[in-house]
C-alpha cells in the first residue's frame, strides 16, 4: 500500500540526466600529467627541498663564477698582503702566503662539487651496468657480482677508498678513479633488485606477450620505471663523494697543494684554528651547506619520484 503511494509520487522524469552528456562522460578535462610533471609538482610542494635547491644553486653559481669576480687567482701569492682580515680588497681575507681566500674557497668548491658530480655519475654508470648484468644474466654472473658486492660492503667504504687512493696516488683524477671503483656497490644492488622486481611485473609480461623484444622491454618499460630510484640514489651519492674528498684531503692523501679543494682548505685551516679560525670555518660551512642541501634535495626527490617509498 505504501509502495503504491510512493510509486505515485515518483515518475520517470525525475530520473533523467541533468547537465551530463553521456557521450562526453569519459572525457578527461584536465590535461594528463606525465610521471615527471607529477614528480615536479610533488617536489615543489616540499619546502625544505626547494630551499635546499636554492642553496645548492647559489653555491654552484658562486663556485663557478665566484673566482671570476675578483682579480686574484686562487694560487697567486702576495706576501705583502699575507694574513689579512676580510676587507674590500680581499672579501674573505688572505692566507699565510697572501693568497686571496675568496678565490681559494670558491675554486676549492668548484673542485669539490665537480669531484662529487663526476664520481657520482661514474659510480652510477658502473653500478647500472653491473647491476643489470647481474639481474638479467643471472646464474653464475649474478652470483659472482653479488658476492663481490657483499664482500666489499662488509667493510667500511672509507677504508677501501683510502687503500685505493694510496695505490692511485693523490690528485683530482686519481681521486675520481678511487671513488668510482669503490662507490658503485649500492647502485649495483639497487639496479639488480629493480630488474628482478620489474621482470615479474604484469606490464612486462603484457609487453612480452604482445611480442615486444628485449631491447624494447628494457628501454621502454624497465628503464623509465627504474629512473626514479636511480636518480635518488645518485643524489645521495654526490654528498657521499664530496664527503670522501673532504675526508681524504683531511687525512692528507686527497687533493694536495697547489691544487685546492674544500677538504684541503679544511685540513689547512685545522692547523690555524687558534689564530685564524675563519680559514677553517669558511670551507667547513660551505661543505656542510652543500651536503645539507643535497640531502634535502635527495629526500624531496625520493618522496617525489618514488611515492611508494614515502613514509
Amino acid at each position: 500500500m505504501q509502495n503504491d503511494a510512493v510509486g505515485q509520487m515518483l515518475d520517470a522524469e525525475l530520473f533523467t540526466l541533468v547537465g551530463v552528456k553521456p557521450d562526453e562522460a569519459d572525457h578527461i578535462k584536465r590535461k594528463s600529467q606525465t610521471y615527471f610533471q607529477d614528480a615536479a609538482r610533488r617536489f615543489r610542494q616540499n619546502t625544505p627541498s626547494v630551499i635546499g635547491m636554492i642553496f645548492l644553486a647559489a653555491l654552484v653559481v658562486f663556485a663557478f663564477f665566484g673566482p671570476l669576480l675578483v682579480k686574484y687567482n686562487y694560487n697567486t701569492a702576495d706576501l705583502a698582503a699575507a694574513n689579512s682580515d676580510p676587507s674590500a680588497a680581499h672579501w674573505f681575507g688572505t692566507d699565510e702566503l697572501g693568497r686571496d681566500m675568496w678565490a681559494r674557497v670558491w675554486t676549492g668548491g668548484r673542485i669539490s662539487i665537480l669531484i662529487g658530480i663526476i664520481a657520482a655519475l661514474l659510480q652510477a654508470t658502473i653500478g647500472i651496468i653491473l647491476g643489470s648484468l647481474a639481474g638479467f644474466v643471472g646464474g653464475k654472473v649474478d652470483e659472482f657480482i653479488m658476492r663481490v658486492v657483499e664482500f666489499l660492503m662488509a667493510f667500511p667504504y672509507l677504508v677501501w677508498v683510502t687503500l685505493m687512493m694510496m695505490v692511485t696516488g693523490s690528485g683530482i683524477l686519481p681521486m675520481i678513479m678511487a671513488l668510482t671503483l669503490t662507490g658503485w656497490l649500492s647502485m649495483a644492488r639497487l639496479v639488480r633488485g629493480q630488474i628482478l622486481a620489474l621482470k615479474n611485473e604484469d606490464y612486462v609480461l603484457a609487453a612480452l606477450s604482445l611480442g615486444a623484444g628485449t631491447r624494447r622491454i628494457i628501454l621502454r618499460h624497465m628503464i623509465p620505471n627504474m629512473l626514479g630510484v636511480i636518480i635518488v640514489n645518485m643524489t645521495f651519492a654526490i654528498p657521499n663523494a664530496i664527503f670522501s674528498e673532504a675526508f681524504l684531503s683531511f687525512i692528507g692523501i686527497g687533493i694536495k697543494s697547489p691544487e685546492t679543494s674544500w677538504g684541503l682548505l679544511v685540513s689547512i685551516g685545522m692547523k690555524q684554528i687558534y689564530t685564524y679560525p675563519l680559514r677553517l670555518f669558511l670551507p667547513s660551512i660551505f661543505i656542510s651547506l652543500t651536503m645539507l642541501s643535497l640531502q634535502l634535495i635527495g629526500d624531496g626527490l625520493r618522496d617525489a619520484l618514488d611515492p611508494k617509498l614515502r613514509h
Binding site: 667500511p156 687503500l163 675526508f247 687525512i251 692528507g252 684554528i273 661543505i287 645539507l292 640531502q295
Partner: protein, 306 residues
C-alpha cells in the same frame, strides 16, 4: 639444531671474508707506489739490510705466505716507521682509547637517539618532532670532523668549558664523544621514530590499549620491542661508522687511539701498520655483524635461517 647450523655457516663465511680481505689488502699495499724507506737518506747497503730485516727482499708470494703464517699465530708484523714496535703492541696500547671513546659514543647515541626517536613519534608534528628531524638531517649530512671543529672551537677554545684535546679525564671525553656520536644519534633517532610510528598504529597496540594496560607498559613491552627490530640492524653499520669516525675525531682531539694511528700510518706509508690495522678493524666488524645476525635470529622468530 637449525640455529647451530646457521651459526656455524655464518662463522665459516666470516672467516673466509677475513681471509680474502687479508689477501686483498696485502697485495693492494704492495701495489702502492713508493716505499716507506725512500724518504730516509741511506746507503745502498743499509737499504738492503733493512729490506732483508723486514723480509722485503723475498718474492711477494713468499712474503704473503710468511705474513699468513704469522697472522695465524696472531702476529701482525712490525711497524716500518715506529722503530722496534710491533703492530700488536701498537694495538694493545692504542685500542683501549678507541674502545673507550667508541663505547661512549655508541652509548650516547643509543640512549639519546632512542629517547628522541620515541618522544618524536609520540609528539608527531610538534616542536620536538621537528627538532628531531632537523637534528637527523644535520647529524647525517655534516661531516663528523666539522662537528668536531665547531664544538672544539666553541666549547673548548672560546668558552673554555672543556679541555681542547687529549684524553685523560672525564671532561676530556665529552666533546669527542659528542662529535663521534652525533651522526649515529641522528640515524638511530630517525629509524626509531619511523618504526615507532609504524608500530603505534598497529592492531596489537590498539588491543593492548583497549585491554586497559598502562601507557608505560604499552610503550616498553608492546611497542618498543617491535620498534627496536630495525634499529638493531643499524648496529653493524654503527660499528663501522664508529671505526671510520675515529679516524677523524681522534685527529681533531689529538687522542692517541687506533684511528689516529691508522691515519698516520697512511701518511707515512707504514705498510705493515696499515694492513695490520685494516685486518684488526675487519675482524672487529665481522665479529660485530656476526653477533648482530645471531642475536637477530634469536630475537625475531620470523627470520629465515638460510
Amino acid at each position: 639444531m637449525k640455529l647451530l647450523k646457521y651459526i656455524s655457516k655464518r662463522i665459516a663465511i666470516s672467516f673466509l671474508m677475513i681471509l680474502i680481505l687479508v689477501t686483498v689488502s696485502f697485495f693492494m699495499v704492495k701495489l702502492i707506489p713508493g716505499s716507506p724507506f725512500t724518504s730516509e737518506k741511506m746507503q745502498a747497503g743499509n737499504k738492503a739490510a733493512i729490506y732483508a730485516y723486514y723480509g722485503l727482499d723475498k718474492p711477494v708470494y713468499e712474503q704473503y705466505l710468511i705474513y699468513l703464517n704469522n697472522l695465524a699465530h696472531g702476529d701482525l708484523g712490525t711497524s716500518y716507521k715506529i722503530r722496534a714496535i710491533s703492530v700488536n703492541q701498537i694495538i694493545a696500547t692504542a685500542f683501549p682509547y678507541s674502545l673507550d671513546l667508541g663505547l661512549r659514543a655508541i652509548g650516547f647515541a643509543l640512549t639519546m637517539g632512542l629517547l628522541l626517536g620515541i618522544t618524536a613519534a609520540y609528539q608527531r608534528g610538534k616542536a620536538l618532532d621537528t627538532f628531531t628531524m632537523v637534528l637527523a638531517i644535520i647529524g647525517t649530512s655534516v661531516p663528523s670532523f666539522i662537528v668536531g671543529f665547531f664544538i672544539q672551537y666553541i666549547f673548548a677554545v672560546k668558552l673554555k668549558w672543556f679541555p681542547v684535546a687529549q684524553y685523560e679525564s672525564l671532561a676530556h671525553t665529552v666533546l669527542p664523544t659528542f662529535a663521534l656520536g652525533l651522526g649515529m644519534l641522528a640515524m638511530i633517532a630517525k629509524y626509531t621514530r619511523s618504526s615507532m610510528l609504524e608500530v603505534i598504529s598497529s592492531e596489537y597496540v590498539k588491543t593492548a590499549d583497549s585491554k586497559g594496560l598502562s601507557k608505560l607498559r604499552i610503550i616498553f613491552v608492546h611497542q618498543l620491542r617491535n620498534a627496536l627490530m630495525p634499529v638493531i640492524t643499524l648496529l653493524g653499520p654503527t660499528v663501522a661508522s664508529v671505526i671510520t669516525g675515529t679516524f677523524v675525531v681522534e685527529n681533531v682531539f689529538a687522542i692517541p687511539g687506533l684511528g689516529r694511528h691508522y691515519v698516520t700510518s697512511v701518511q707515512n706509508l707504514d705498510y705493515t701498520l696499515i694492513t695490520g690495522l685494516t685486518i684488526f678493524f675487519a675482524v672487529l666488524l665481522v665479529m660485530m655483524n656476526l653477533i648482530v645476525d645471531i642475536a637477530y635470529a634469536f630475537i625475531d622468530p620470523r627470520i629465515k635461517l638460510e
